[in-house]
């Protein structure tokens, strides 16, 4: 799952990015409002964490512009403005959730997971299918009760397919959601990750539609 983090404080960015990356998310960072607005409008993010008090352009106007242009990516506002009026304004502008600073990192991680789960229409954080259990909260998987060791990129691929279970995902779309903005995107490596996941979790979990992409059937 690919997330845009729009926050001007670089140390805080590093802390949040580290947290989300550890959970198998791919995180792009924007340090000012203009960059955030551009990336949010042009890249296919699964979620955006948006600071309201960004330099060059404030977060509320960016969010309104995105929503006005039909961009429905879930947005979690992360801001020092803790007034209830600010919260209502933020949610009315189109935000899906609102968190105020200072905050606890585990709570932020939980809110991100909940937001992603809501956007995919899933209510259960656990994916259960054919003896396979994947915990979307921790990125950990077991097969027939035995823990399976997954790399960060394998977690990213599996998470995206599970969040979009029942939908055909092309290699291009998959690569757009598991690589950072400036990463070298080689869609051939997607096939490598898929093979590794099949070897670890069983060949039947991920179906290949030749020439079209991959799909996981809903649990």
């Amino acid at each position: 799952m690919r997330i845009l983090l729009a926050e001007d404080e670089r140390v805080l960015c590093d802390q949040i990015k580290k947290l989300l990356t550890a959970e198998g998310r791919v995180v792009d960072v924007a340090h000012d409002g203009q960059e955030a607005c551009f990336l949010g409008a042009t890249e296919p993010y699964d979620m955006i964490i948006l600071d309201i008090g960004l330099p060059m352009r404030d977060g509320t106007s960016i969010l309104k512009e995105w929503r006005g242009n039909g961009i429905t990516t879930p947005v979690l506002i992360l801001t020092a403005r803790d007034g209830w009026s600010d919260r209502v304004d933020g949610l009315d502008a189109g935000a899906d959730d609102y968190m105020t600073k200072p905050f606890h990192l585990p709570e932020l991680a939980a809110r991100v997971r909940a937001t992603l789960r809501r956007s995919s229409g899933r209510t259960n954080p656990l994916f259960l299918k054919d003896g396979i259990v994947f915990d979307t909260r921790s990125g950990r998987a077991t097969k027939d009760g035995v823990p399976v060791d997954l790399t960060a990129q394998e977690v990213a691929v599996l998470s995206y397919l599970i969040h979009n279970a029942g939908r055909l995902i092309s290699r291009t779309e998959l690569s757009e959601h598991i690589y950072e903005y400036d990463a070298d995107r080689d869609s051939n490596t997607i096939a490598v990750f898929i093979n590794r996941l099949r070897n670890k979790l069983g060949a039947d979990l991920i179906q290949t539609m030749r020439g079209r992409g991959y799909m996981i059937e809903p649990a």
Partner: protein, 447 residues
């Protein structure tokens, strides 16, 4: 201080009263004189009639009574008399004098003089008398008299008829004063309404919309309104900048401490200290914001809209936790409290209710005789009656079992105090838990 309208009414009323009184007195005096002149003219004509009659019978004045046929002269004490005194001192009178005579006539000359006197039975008389020298050289005193009762009655009748006219004039004067006052004061009334409306719409007043006498005041009001907005927005901006400048490093610090804590370093005391810093920071930032609220806030806030906004937010938050918020709000509730301030108060109280309720929260806002009443109730454990005074003391925190700074209620009370609004803790009669009752006084609800 006496209002301009009262001043105009009083001064206009007094001016009209003085004008009408002086006018009435002058007109009465003039008309009294005219009535007297007419009376004297008639008296003079009667005097001439007696003189003519006397000149016909100078040798036998006893025939005068027969020559003068007016029956009033024949009726005793009819109020109309004549009296002739010959050169020999012999006096002849009308039958109406019966056996009496007119009062002593002094200062008689050959010029007709008319004067008031008191006659028979203290009757008020007006007497015309003159020394008349006939052709034979004899000199006679000829006097005619008439009771003044008729004159007084004529004057009274004239005054009565004029009084109604002057009453009408006075009424017209009063109506004119009222109309004038309304016309003069109207721009000020308009200005007052415009100031309230422009505050609400955040617009400036247009000087050319007002009379030239009021226009400079309008300019001053514009300046004051702008200065007021600047003060509020500067205060808000400072609070927001300060919040951003302090809370972001605090978040970084907390995350670093948390990270160390997860690596088995004992960070509990440091995290506890940071919690206290964050709580104090929240309280101080709230105080910075409210420093320029209250006295400087005149904008009218749509309270019903604020209630609905918060209801939307907290309904969503409640339903995520499997809880339920019921909102009942009168339409079109308006209040002169800054929108952010009232939403902060209600948001803090709803947040507390959401934390402590078991299942249900009720949120009510309605117009009452004393102002607007807002009640937030829950079905949680409530606060024991003995603990309520402590709970409403600033900064008190009774229970630390729920997350948060515990400052929501204290900040709400601080903000309400700025606007002279009151907050009371009670037991909810419908839900059984805590009921927080806020009364926003009537002065905050006026248009």
């Amino acid at each position: 201080m006496l209002s301009l309208r009262s001043r105009a009414w009083i001064s206009g009323g007094l001016s009209a009263l003085v004008a009408v009184t002086i006018g009435t007195l002058l007109l009465y005096s003039f008309l009294d004189q005219r009535v007297l002149e007419r009376f004297d003219r008639t008296l003079s004509e009667r005097h001439t009639q007696i003189v003519v009659a006397l000149s016909n019978v100078p040798d036998d004045p006893g025939q005068l009574a027969e020559l003068i046929f007016d029956p009033v002269y024949q009726t005793p004490f009819s109020g109309r008399y004549w009296q002739v005194t010959g050169p020999d001192g012999q006096t002849y009178t009308s039958a109406s004098l019966f056996e009496a005579t007119l009062p002593d006539l002094i200062d008689i000359s050959d010029t007709l003089t008319v004067a008031d006197s008191v006659g028979l039975e203290t009757e008020q008389l007006r007497i015309a008398r003159q020394l008349i020298t006939l052709e034979d050289g004899s000199t006679w005193t000829v006097a005619v008299a008439e009771g003044r009762a008729g004159l007084i009655a004529d004057r009274a009748e004239m005054r009565r008829s004029l009084l109604a006219a002057f009453g009408l004039v006075a009424l017209i004067g009063v109506v004119t004063v009222l109309l004038q006052t309304a016309a003069i004061v109207r721009p000020l009334d308009t200005l007052r309404k415009d100031v309230a409306a422009r505050w609400d719409r955040d617009e400036e007043l247009v000087e050319t919309d007002y009379p030239e006498e009021v226009a400079p005041l309008v300019g001053d009001i514009n300046t004051l309104m702008q200065r007021n907005r600047d003060i509020i927005s500067r205060s808000r901006r400072q609070a927001a900048d300060l919040a951003h400048a302090l809370k972001t490093p605090s978040a970084i610090l907390r995350n670093e401490l948390q990270s160390l804590s997860e690596k088995s370093h004992d960070m509990d005391r440091a995290l506890d200290a940071l919690d206290r810093v964050d709580a104090q920071l929240g309280r101080s930032l709230a105080r910075v914001r409210m420093a320029n609220s209250g006295e400087t806030t005149f904008a009218r806030t749509d309270l019903s809209n604020s209630v609905n906004r918060l209801s939307r937010l907290f309904s969503a938050m409640a339903s995520r936790d499997g809880k339920h918020l019921t909102t009942v709000c009168d339409p079109d509730l308006g209040i002169r409290v800054d929108a952010q301030d009232i939403e902060e108060v209600l948001g803090n109280l709803l947040d507390n209710a959401l934390k402590w309720c078991r299942q249900n929260i009720a949120f009510t806002a309605r117009q009452v005789a004393q102002g607007i009443e807002v009640i937030i109730e829950d079905d949680g454990p409530g606060i024991a009656e003995k603990d309520r005074p402590e709970a409403v003391q600033s900064g008190a925190r009774l229970d630390t079992s729920k997350p948060g700074t515990g400052l929501g209620l204290a900040i709400a009370i601080d903000l309400l105090e700025v606007y002279d609004a009151t907050l009371a803790l009670e037991q909810s009669r419908t839900l059984g838990g805590l009921a927080v009752r806020i009364l926003l006084p009537a002065r905050l609800t006026r248009s």
